[in-house]
């Protein structure tokens, strides 16, 4: 990790710190709301360590707290996390070992390289990808990815633990309005992605479908029914394919070319 702190600029570390602070507030709220709503303490903790994707964690718990089945919760979380697939392609070049300059041969070095790659894979998030794509050199990309990824992982999990402790101590988390932070986070994450008219139409239709079906369908299903809003996109698909395809250099982070679509400051 020494490599990271040596090459990361003070400005980068400051920005990473600010994003970590924002996510820490969300994490505390997440932990407190979970236990405040009657879930076991290990549910938010296990989700944060093993899944480590805030939007999906909050979505899965949201489905369960609304009375939905665990299967619906996993589905909702998985669909939200499909964005990690293009992210993985975008940052594939920096997910490897922290210090590629010291190339060593031999079995131990190979195992080390793979361990670093597998660890790095786990800290691919909205935030670490956004910071990585903003850098101009390969070395800076790498240090930005690792600085943000590792700092966020540590802070996110410590904050969830803190939230669990706070939530257990509070008599009524609703009195503090913590139940409003879940939908607020979802909204703040989604707003920057509502850039085109077809997307807005699909999202609006989906929201109306979900809210309208909530009184009549078992919990969890209205959310999946909301994906029907995507049907409004069919007409615009051909034009979208023709106009929107941007040439990106293959293997050079071409999967995600528009960094403005990566929401910063939430999503853990």
């Amino acid at each position: 990790m020494r490599f990271v702190w040596r090459t990361a600029s003070p400005a980068l570390l400051r920005d990473v710190g600010l994003v970590c602070l924002a996510d820490a507030i969300v994490a505390v709220s997440f932990g407190a709301t979970c236990v405040g709503s009657g879930l076991a303490w290990w549910v938010p903790v296990a989700l944060s360590v093993l899944v480590f994707a805030g939007g999906a964690q909050i979505a899965a718990v949201g489905v369960v707290l609304a009375g939905g089945s665990p299967v619906a919760a996993v589905l909702a979380g998985a669909v939200l996390n499909t964005r990690l697939l293009p992210y993985g392609f975008a940052v594939a070049d920096v997910v490897g070992p922290v210090n590629p300059g010291a190339t060593q041969v031999g079995a131990i070095a190979t195992v080390r390289r793979w361990l670093a790659r597998l660890l790095g894979t786990h800290v691919i998030t909205d935030e670490s990808v956004a910071f990585t794509l903003r850098q101009d050199s390969a070395e800076r990309r790498r240090s930005a990815f690792w600085a943000c990824g590792v700092a966020l992982f540590v802070l996110w999990n410590v904050s969830v633990l803190l939230g669990v402790a706070l939530g257990s101590a509070m008599r009524d988390t609703n009195a503090f309005g913590l139940d409003a932070t879940f939908p607020a986070v979802m909204l703040a994450l989604a707003l920057p992605t509502l850039t085109s008219r077809p997307t807005r139409l699909a999202a609006g239709t989906g929201a109306v479908i979900a809210v309208a079906l909530t009184p009549v369908l078992p919990a969890g299903l209205p959310l999946l029914a909301a994906l029907g809003g995507l049907a409004t996109r069919w007409g615009g698909w051909r034009g979208l394919l023709g106009r929107r395809s941007r040439p990106g250099p293959a293997g050079d982070g071409g999967a995600v070319t528009d960094t403005s679509e990566v929401p910063v400051g939430g999503g853990r």
Binding site: V19, L21, I25, V26, L39, A40, A46, L47, A60, A66, G67, P70, A73, V74, A78, V79, N81, T82, L84, L85, P86, G88, A92, V95, T121, H122, G177, D179, A180, T181, P183, A184, V185, M186, L187, A188, A190, T193, A202, A203, G204, G206, A207, A210, V211, T214, A219, P222, L223, A226, L227, G229, L230, L240, L241, S245, A250, G254, V256, E261
Partner: protein, 103 residues
């Protein structure tokens, strides 16, 4: 109820989605159309989840305090307020409404 098996299932799916890119690097690229579909599906889910969790509790209306807090947070987010401000505003406004006796 959130059983450990469900958490592990979501963790495995999530890790698989993360690992595909680093594993297939340089050999495969995600088609732009598929990428946009994934992105839109996530947006639709986020907005639908925001709407249902802001407006409903169980099968009924959640009351006015929660949607009020989320609305203020949404306006702040649209005006590019810092993320901590957005989150604290949602909780603060909702808590104030409840303090005033509006559930």
């Amino acid at each position: 109820m959130m059983p450990m098996t469900a958490i592990v299932a979501l963790a495995v799916v999530t890790y698989g989605l993360r690992l595909t890119g680093p594993l297939l690097r340089g050999r495969v690229t995600v088609p732009a159309a598929a990428e946009r579909l994934f992105a839109d599906a996530a947006t639709v889910l986020l907005i639908a989840l925001a709407a249902t969790s802001a407006l409903t509790a169980g099968h009924g209306f959640a009351g006015w305090a929660r949607p009020a807090g989320v609305l203020v947070a949404g306006v702040l987010a649209a005006r590019r307020a810092p993320f901590p401000v957005v989150v604290l505003a949602a909780a603060g406004v909702t808590a104030l409404f409840r303090l005033a006796g509006v559930s």
